[in-house]
Symmetry: C2
Subunit: 189 residues, 2 copies
DNA sequence: GAACGTAGTTATCGACTGATAACCTGTCAA
DNA sequence: TTGACAGGTTATCAGTCGATAACTACGTTC
Protein backbone atom coordinates (compact mmCIF):
# COMPACT_ATOMS: atom_id res chain seq x y z
CA UNK A 1 0.00 0.00 0.00
CA UNK A 2 1.63 3.16 -1.18
CA UNK A 3 0.64 6.40 0.50
CA UNK A 4 -1.00 8.71 -1.97
CA UNK A 5 1.45 11.28 -3.20
CA UNK A 6 -0.01 14.58 -4.25
CA UNK A 7 1.50 17.42 -6.18
CA UNK A 8 2.57 20.39 -4.09
CA UNK A 9 -0.39 22.31 -5.43
CA UNK A 10 -2.89 19.65 -4.43
CA UNK A 11 -1.32 19.30 -1.00
CA UNK A 12 -1.36 23.06 -0.62
CA UNK A 13 -5.08 23.16 -1.25
CA UNK A 14 -5.74 20.24 1.05
CA UNK A 15 -3.73 21.88 3.81
CA UNK A 16 -5.68 25.10 3.44
CA UNK A 17 -8.81 23.04 3.98
CA UNK A 18 -7.36 21.46 7.10
CA UNK A 19 -6.17 24.84 8.34
CA UNK A 20 -9.65 26.23 7.79
CA UNK A 21 -11.11 23.59 10.07
CA UNK A 22 -8.39 23.89 12.68
CA UNK A 23 -8.26 27.69 12.84
CA UNK A 24 -12.06 27.85 12.94
CA UNK A 25 -12.01 25.82 16.12
CA UNK A 26 -9.03 27.41 17.84
CA UNK A 27 -8.31 30.79 16.30
CA UNK A 28 -4.85 31.90 15.25
CA UNK A 29 -2.87 31.69 18.47
CA UNK A 30 -4.92 28.79 19.81
CA UNK A 31 -4.19 26.40 16.96
CA UNK A 32 -0.95 24.49 16.40
CA UNK A 33 0.61 23.66 13.08
CA UNK A 34 0.64 20.06 14.25
CA UNK A 35 -3.15 20.05 14.52
CA UNK A 36 -3.36 21.23 10.93
CA UNK A 37 -0.84 18.61 9.85
CA UNK A 38 -2.70 15.76 11.55
CA UNK A 39 -5.99 16.83 10.00
CA UNK A 40 -4.35 16.63 6.59
CA UNK A 41 -2.47 13.43 7.36
CA UNK A 42 1.02 14.85 6.87
CA UNK A 43 3.87 15.69 9.19
CA UNK A 44 4.09 19.03 10.96
CA UNK A 45 7.40 20.12 9.41
CA UNK A 46 5.94 19.63 5.96
CA UNK A 47 3.23 22.17 6.72
CA UNK A 48 5.93 24.68 7.63
CA UNK A 49 7.87 23.82 4.49
CA UNK A 50 4.93 24.54 2.25
CA UNK A 51 3.84 27.78 3.92
CA UNK A 52 6.98 29.15 5.51
CA UNK A 53 5.50 30.10 8.87
CA UNK A 54 2.34 29.51 10.83
CA UNK A 55 1.46 33.16 10.29
CA UNK A 56 1.65 32.82 6.53
CA UNK A 57 -0.51 29.71 6.73
CA UNK A 58 -3.12 31.66 8.68
CA UNK A 59 -3.00 34.55 6.24
CA UNK A 60 -3.40 32.19 3.29
CA UNK A 61 -6.34 30.55 5.06
CA UNK A 62 -8.11 33.85 5.71
CA UNK A 63 -7.59 34.98 2.13
CA UNK A 64 -8.90 31.66 0.88
CA UNK A 65 -11.99 32.03 3.07
CA UNK A 66 -12.60 35.54 1.77
CA UNK A 67 -12.25 34.27 -1.82
CA UNK A 68 -14.81 31.56 -1.27
CA UNK A 69 -17.22 33.95 0.45
CA UNK A 70 -16.89 36.34 -2.45
CA UNK A 71 -17.60 33.54 -4.93
CA UNK A 72 -20.70 32.52 -3.01
CA UNK A 73 -21.90 36.11 -3.13
CA UNK A 74 -21.31 36.24 -6.87
CA UNK A 75 -23.30 33.04 -7.34
CA UNK A 76 -26.27 34.43 -5.39
CA UNK A 77 -29.27 36.44 -6.55
CA UNK A 78 -27.72 39.89 -6.97
CA UNK A 79 -29.64 41.87 -4.39
CA UNK A 80 -29.37 42.28 -0.63
CA UNK A 81 -31.94 39.58 0.05
CA UNK A 82 -30.08 37.16 -2.19
CA UNK A 83 -26.73 37.85 -0.54
CA UNK A 84 -28.43 37.62 2.85
CA UNK A 85 -29.60 34.12 2.01
CA UNK A 86 -26.11 33.24 0.82
CA UNK A 87 -24.72 34.51 4.12
CA UNK A 88 -27.17 32.31 6.03
CA UNK A 89 -25.87 29.32 4.14
CA UNK A 90 -22.27 30.25 4.91
CA UNK A 91 -23.15 30.68 8.56
CA UNK A 92 -24.67 27.20 8.64
CA UNK A 93 -21.47 25.76 7.18
CA UNK A 94 -19.67 27.77 9.85
CA UNK A 95 -16.02 27.50 8.84
CA UNK A 96 -15.59 30.31 6.32
CA UNK A 97 -17.41 32.84 8.44
CA UNK A 98 -15.88 31.87 11.76
CA UNK A 99 -12.33 31.82 10.46
CA UNK A 100 -12.88 35.34 9.12
CA UNK A 101 -13.96 36.44 12.58
CA UNK A 102 -10.78 34.98 14.02
CA UNK A 103 -8.91 36.97 11.41
CA UNK A 104 -10.72 40.15 12.42
CA UNK A 105 -9.99 39.48 16.10
CA UNK A 106 -6.30 39.08 15.23
CA UNK A 107 -6.43 42.30 13.21
CA UNK A 108 -4.30 44.19 15.72
CA UNK A 109 -1.33 42.06 14.62
CA UNK A 110 0.80 44.18 12.27
CA UNK A 111 1.15 41.38 9.73
CA UNK A 112 -2.43 40.11 9.85
CA UNK A 113 -4.17 43.48 10.11
CA UNK A 114 -3.52 44.69 6.57
CA UNK A 115 -4.66 41.35 5.17
CA UNK A 116 -7.97 41.22 7.01
CA UNK A 117 -8.68 44.88 6.31
CA UNK A 118 -8.12 44.21 2.62
CA UNK A 119 -10.36 41.12 2.70
CA UNK A 120 -13.11 43.03 4.47
CA UNK A 121 -12.81 45.89 2.01
CA UNK A 122 -12.99 43.54 -0.93
CA UNK A 123 -16.15 41.89 0.41
CA UNK A 124 -17.68 45.30 1.04
CA UNK A 125 -16.92 46.38 -2.52
CA UNK A 126 -18.30 43.10 -3.84
CA UNK A 127 -21.59 43.53 -2.02
CA UNK A 128 -22.01 47.05 -3.29
CA UNK A 129 -21.07 46.08 -6.82
CA UNK A 130 -23.45 43.12 -6.94
CA UNK A 131 -26.44 44.69 -5.25
CA UNK A 132 -26.11 48.33 -6.23
CA UNK A 133 -27.12 49.15 -2.66
CA UNK A 134 -26.16 52.53 -1.22
CA UNK A 135 -23.69 53.02 1.60
CA UNK A 136 -26.33 53.02 4.34
CA UNK A 137 -28.05 49.85 3.12
CA UNK A 138 -24.72 48.11 2.80
CA UNK A 139 -23.68 49.24 6.26
CA UNK A 140 -26.87 47.72 7.69
CA UNK A 141 -26.19 44.53 5.75
CA UNK A 142 -22.71 44.18 7.22
CA UNK A 143 -23.95 45.16 10.67
CA UNK A 144 -26.48 42.33 10.63
CA UNK A 145 -23.83 40.03 9.22
CA UNK A 146 -21.37 40.82 12.00
CA UNK A 147 -24.02 40.21 14.65
CA UNK A 148 -24.82 36.84 13.12
CA UNK A 149 -21.12 36.07 12.83
CA UNK A 150 -20.48 36.75 16.49
CA UNK A 151 -23.55 34.80 17.57
CA UNK A 152 -22.39 31.93 15.39
CA UNK A 153 -18.93 31.92 16.95
CA UNK A 154 -20.54 31.82 20.40
CA UNK A 155 -22.81 28.94 19.37
CA UNK A 156 -25.89 31.01 20.05
CA UNK A 157 -27.02 30.19 16.53
CA UNK A 158 -26.04 27.37 14.20
CA UNK A 159 -26.43 23.65 13.85
CA UNK A 160 -25.30 22.73 17.36
CA UNK A 161 -26.39 25.93 19.04
CA UNK A 162 -26.86 26.05 22.78
CA UNK A 163 -30.57 26.66 23.43
CA UNK A 164 -30.86 30.35 24.38
CA UNK A 165 -32.08 31.09 27.87
CA UNK A 166 -34.08 34.03 29.09
CA UNK A 167 -33.54 37.35 27.32
CA UNK A 168 -31.53 35.86 24.45
CA UNK A 169 -34.67 34.11 23.25
CA UNK A 170 -36.08 37.44 22.10
CA UNK A 171 -32.89 38.28 20.24
CA UNK A 172 -32.71 34.92 18.45
CA UNK A 173 -36.39 35.17 17.54
CA UNK A 174 -35.86 38.62 16.06
CA UNK A 175 -33.15 37.32 13.73
CA UNK A 176 -35.65 35.60 11.43
CA UNK A 177 -33.36 32.61 11.04
CA UNK A 178 -33.72 29.79 8.53
CA UNK A 179 -34.12 26.33 10.05
CA UNK A 180 -30.49 25.54 9.28
CA UNK A 181 -29.34 28.16 11.79
CA UNK A 182 -31.73 27.40 14.59
CA UNK A 183 -30.49 25.09 17.30
CA UNK A 184 -31.73 21.55 17.90
CA UNK A 185 -35.52 21.19 18.15
CA UNK A 186 -36.97 21.45 21.61
CA UNK A 187 -39.35 18.68 22.62
CA UNK A 188 -41.55 18.32 25.65
CA UNK A 189 -44.86 19.59 26.94
CA UNK B 1 11.99 51.98 49.85
CA UNK B 2 9.61 49.19 50.60
CA UNK B 3 7.59 47.81 47.73
CA UNK B 4 3.95 48.67 48.17
CA UNK B 5 2.04 45.76 49.58
CA UNK B 6 -1.59 45.58 48.65
CA UNK B 7 -4.41 43.53 50.06
CA UNK B 8 -5.37 40.49 48.02
CA UNK B 9 -8.51 42.32 46.97
CA UNK B 10 -6.67 45.38 45.74
CA UNK B 11 -4.13 43.23 43.91
CA UNK B 12 -6.96 41.23 42.38
CA UNK B 13 -8.52 44.38 40.97
CA UNK B 14 -5.20 45.68 39.71
CA UNK B 15 -4.48 42.37 38.00
CA UNK B 16 -7.85 42.43 36.29
CA UNK B 17 -6.89 45.80 34.91
CA UNK B 18 -3.59 44.49 33.64
CA UNK B 19 -5.30 41.42 32.19
CA UNK B 20 -7.77 43.67 30.42
CA UNK B 21 -4.93 45.49 28.68
CA UNK B 22 -3.01 42.33 27.87
CA UNK B 23 -5.93 40.23 26.61
CA UNK B 24 -7.18 43.18 24.55
CA UNK B 25 -3.92 43.18 22.65
CA UNK B 26 -3.39 39.45 22.31
CA UNK B 27 -6.65 37.63 22.85
CA UNK B 28 -7.00 34.62 25.12
CA UNK B 29 -4.56 32.13 23.61
CA UNK B 30 -2.19 34.82 22.41
CA UNK B 31 -1.51 36.34 25.80
CA UNK B 32 0.74 34.90 28.50
CA UNK B 33 0.20 35.10 32.21
CA UNK B 34 3.69 36.55 32.42
CA UNK B 35 2.66 39.51 30.28
CA UNK B 36 -0.18 40.20 32.68
CA UNK B 37 2.15 39.83 35.66
CA UNK B 38 4.71 42.25 34.25
CA UNK B 39 2.04 44.84 33.47
CA UNK B 40 0.95 44.67 37.10
CA UNK B 41 4.50 44.55 38.45
CA UNK B 42 4.19 41.19 40.18
CA UNK B 43 5.60 37.74 39.52
CA UNK B 44 3.88 35.33 37.16
CA UNK B 45 3.27 32.58 39.76
CA UNK B 46 1.41 35.08 41.91
CA UNK B 47 -1.06 35.73 39.12
CA UNK B 48 -1.76 32.02 38.98
CA UNK B 49 -2.08 31.83 42.73
CA UNK B 50 -4.73 34.53 42.82
CA UNK B 51 -6.79 33.25 39.91
CA UNK B 52 -6.09 29.52 39.80
CA UNK B 53 -5.59 29.20 36.04
CA UNK B 54 -5.11 31.43 33.05
CA UNK B 55 -8.58 30.45 31.88
CA UNK B 56 -10.16 31.63 35.12
CA UNK B 57 -8.26 34.90 34.84
CA UNK B 58 -9.62 35.39 31.34
CA UNK B 59 -13.15 34.60 32.44
CA UNK B 60 -12.89 37.02 35.35
CA UNK B 61 -11.59 39.67 32.95
CA UNK B 62 -14.45 39.21 30.49
CA UNK B 63 -17.03 39.34 33.27
CA UNK B 64 -15.41 42.46 34.64
CA UNK B 65 -15.54 44.07 31.20
CA UNK B 66 -19.22 43.19 30.82
CA UNK B 67 -19.92 44.67 34.26
CA UNK B 68 -18.27 47.92 33.38
CA UNK B 69 -20.05 48.12 30.03
CA UNK B 70 -23.35 47.55 31.78
CA UNK B 71 -22.58 50.31 34.28
CA UNK B 72 -21.75 52.71 31.48
CA UNK B 73 -25.07 51.89 29.83
CA UNK B 74 -26.90 52.52 33.08
CA UNK B 75 -25.18 55.88 33.44
CA UNK B 76 -26.21 56.97 29.93
CA UNK B 77 -29.34 58.72 28.70
CA UNK B 78 -31.85 55.85 28.75
CA UNK B 79 -32.72 55.57 25.07
CA UNK B 80 -31.03 53.97 22.07
CA UNK B 81 -29.32 57.20 21.06
CA UNK B 82 -27.95 57.65 24.55
CA UNK B 83 -26.63 54.09 24.74
CA UNK B 84 -25.23 54.51 21.24
CA UNK B 85 -23.22 57.49 22.40
CA UNK B 86 -22.05 55.50 25.41
CA UNK B 87 -20.96 52.71 23.08
CA UNK B 88 -18.98 55.20 20.98
CA UNK B 89 -17.13 56.27 24.10
CA UNK B 90 -16.38 52.68 25.03
CA UNK B 91 -15.11 52.01 21.52
CA UNK B 92 -12.75 54.98 21.77
CA UNK B 93 -11.38 53.59 25.03
CA UNK B 94 -11.06 50.29 23.18
CA UNK B 95 -10.23 47.82 25.94
CA UNK B 96 -13.63 46.84 27.30
CA UNK B 97 -15.14 46.34 23.87
CA UNK B 98 -12.19 44.57 22.30
CA UNK B 99 -11.73 42.15 25.16
CA UNK B 100 -15.40 41.22 24.84
CA UNK B 101 -14.84 40.46 21.16
CA UNK B 102 -11.95 38.19 22.10
CA UNK B 103 -14.30 36.48 24.53
CA UNK B 104 -16.90 36.01 21.80
CA UNK B 105 -14.26 34.62 19.44
CA UNK B 106 -13.24 32.14 22.13
CA UNK B 107 -16.89 31.22 22.67
CA UNK B 108 -16.45 27.77 21.18
CA UNK B 109 -14.41 26.80 24.22
CA UNK B 110 -16.62 24.75 26.54
CA UNK B 111 -15.57 26.70 29.63
CA UNK B 112 -15.61 30.16 28.10
CA UNK B 113 -18.71 29.77 25.94
CA UNK B 114 -21.29 29.75 28.74
CA UNK B 115 -19.68 32.80 30.32
CA UNK B 116 -19.67 34.95 27.21
CA UNK B 117 -23.18 33.89 26.26
CA UNK B 118 -24.36 34.92 29.72
CA UNK B 119 -22.53 38.26 29.46
CA UNK B 120 -24.00 38.95 26.05
CA UNK B 121 -27.47 38.02 27.26
CA UNK B 122 -27.14 40.29 30.27
CA UNK B 123 -26.11 43.24 28.12
CA UNK B 124 -29.00 42.54 25.76
CA UNK B 125 -31.43 42.49 28.65
CA UNK B 126 -29.92 45.67 30.05
CA UNK B 127 -30.36 47.53 26.77
CA UNK B 128 -33.96 46.49 26.47
CA UNK B 129 -34.69 47.33 30.09
CA UNK B 130 -33.11 50.76 29.89
CA UNK B 131 -34.43 51.85 26.51
CA UNK B 132 -37.75 50.03 26.33
CA UNK B 133 -36.91 49.32 22.69
CA UNK B 134 -38.60 46.39 20.98
CA UNK B 135 -36.77 43.27 19.81
CA UNK B 136 -36.17 44.54 16.28
CA UNK B 137 -34.79 47.91 17.37
CA UNK B 138 -32.53 46.22 19.87
CA UNK B 139 -31.36 43.73 17.26
CA UNK B 140 -30.39 46.60 14.99
CA UNK B 141 -28.60 48.31 17.89
CA UNK B 142 -26.51 45.22 18.58
CA UNK B 143 -25.91 44.64 14.89
CA UNK B 144 -24.45 48.12 14.51
CA UNK B 145 -22.51 47.59 17.71
CA UNK B 146 -20.94 44.36 16.49
CA UNK B 147 -19.92 45.96 13.20
CA UNK B 148 -18.25 48.81 15.08
CA UNK B 149 -16.65 46.31 17.44
CA UNK B 150 -15.12 44.31 14.61
CA UNK B 151 -13.95 47.44 12.80
CA UNK B 152 -12.40 48.64 16.03
CA UNK B 153 -10.53 45.38 16.56
CA UNK B 154 -9.20 45.64 13.00
CA UNK B 155 -8.11 49.24 13.58
CA UNK B 156 -10.37 50.46 10.81
CA UNK B 157 -11.86 52.89 13.31
CA UNK B 158 -10.48 54.24 16.56
CA UNK B 159 -7.81 56.55 17.81
CA UNK B 160 -4.92 55.01 15.87
CA UNK B 161 -6.97 53.74 12.95
CA UNK B 162 -5.30 52.89 9.68
CA UNK B 163 -6.63 55.34 7.07
CA UNK B 164 -9.18 53.41 5.01
CA UNK B 165 -8.37 52.91 1.36
CA UNK B 166 -10.73 52.65 -1.57
CA UNK B 167 -14.10 51.08 -0.91
CA UNK B 168 -13.77 51.13 2.88
CA UNK B 169 -13.95 54.91 2.78
CA UNK B 170 -17.65 54.70 1.95
CA UNK B 171 -18.27 52.31 4.81
CA UNK B 172 -16.44 54.44 7.37
CA UNK B 173 -18.25 57.55 6.14
CA UNK B 174 -21.60 55.82 6.52
CA UNK B 175 -20.90 55.05 10.18
CA UNK B 176 -21.46 58.66 11.30
CA UNK B 177 -18.58 58.46 13.71
CA UNK B 178 -17.69 60.97 16.42
CA UNK B 179 -14.26 62.56 16.08
CA UNK B 180 -12.90 60.29 18.80
CA UNK B 181 -13.38 57.25 16.56
CA UNK B 182 -12.06 58.68 13.33
CA UNK B 183 -8.43 58.03 12.54
CA UNK B 184 -5.69 60.63 12.48
CA UNK B 185 -6.47 63.75 10.47
CA UNK B 186 -5.41 63.72 6.87
CA UNK B 187 -3.47 66.71 5.65
CA UNK B 188 -2.54 67.84 2.17
CA UNK B 189 -4.37 68.64 -1.04
C1' DG C 1 18.93 1.57 -15.02
C1' DA C 2 20.87 5.58 -13.44
C1' DA C 3 20.18 10.02 -12.37
C1' DC C 4 17.44 13.63 -10.87
C1' DG C 5 13.74 16.49 -9.16
C1' DT C 6 9.84 16.43 -6.18
C1' DA C 7 7.11 14.73 -2.23
C1' DG C 8 7.52 13.67 2.21
C1' DT C 9 9.65 11.90 6.73
C1' DT C 10 12.28 11.46 11.19
C1' DA C 11 15.15 13.60 14.41
C1' DT C 12 15.98 17.35 16.99
C1' DC C 13 16.13 21.87 19.15
C1' DG C 14 15.65 26.20 21.59
C1' DA C 15 12.37 28.98 23.40
C1' DC C 16 8.28 29.50 25.78
C1' DT C 17 4.51 28.74 29.08
C1' DG C 18 1.38 27.50 32.70
C1' DA C 19 1.66 25.61 36.88
C1' DT C 20 3.72 23.77 41.47
C1' DA C 21 6.54 23.93 45.51
C1' DA C 22 9.15 25.90 48.65
C1' DC C 23 10.68 29.77 50.73
C1' DC C 24 10.85 34.73 52.31
C1' DT C 25 8.94 38.97 54.65
C1' DG C 26 6.26 42.52 56.56
C1' DT C 27 2.65 43.43 60.06
C1' DC C 28 -0.14 42.91 63.87
C1' DA C 29 -1.88 40.65 68.17
C1' DA C 30 -0.98 38.62 72.56
C1' DT D 1 9.35 38.79 71.54
C1' DT D 2 7.29 35.72 69.43
C1' DG D 3 4.30 33.65 66.55
C1' DA D 4 1.25 33.40 62.99
C1' DC D 5 -1.05 34.87 58.97
C1' DA D 6 -1.22 37.31 54.62
C1' DG D 7 1.31 39.03 50.73
C1' DG D 8 4.66 38.04 47.90
C1' DT D 9 9.15 35.80 45.55
C1' DT D 10 12.61 32.55 43.48
C1' DA D 11 13.48 28.16 41.66
C1' DT D 12 12.03 24.78 38.84
C1' DC D 13 9.58 21.75 35.65
C1' DA D 14 7.14 19.09 32.32
C1' DG D 15 4.94 19.79 28.28
C1' DT D 16 4.34 22.21 24.03
C1' DC D 17 5.38 24.48 19.76
C1' DG D 18 7.36 26.43 15.63
C1' DA D 19 11.09 25.80 12.97
C1' DT D 20 15.53 23.68 10.88
C1' DA D 21 18.34 20.04 9.06
C1' DA D 22 19.16 15.97 7.24
C1' DC D 23 17.57 12.03 5.26
C1' DT D 24 14.24 8.84 2.47
C1' DA D 25 11.17 7.39 -1.29
C1' DC D 26 8.70 7.84 -5.50
C1' DG D 27 8.42 8.45 -10.39
C1' DT D 28 9.93 10.23 -14.72
C1' DT D 29 13.21 10.90 -18.34
C1' DC D 30 16.98 9.73 -21.18
Amino acid sequence: MTRTRLTAGERHDQLIGAALTAFTAGGYAGTTTDQVARLAGVSQPYVIRLFGTKQQLFIATVEHAADRIERRFRAATPDLDGLGDAYDELLAERELITVMLHGFAAGADPAIGPVVRACFGRLYATVRELTGADAEQTRAFFASGMLLTVLGAMNVIGRDAVPPDGPMNDLVDSLDLPASLRGPEKFGS
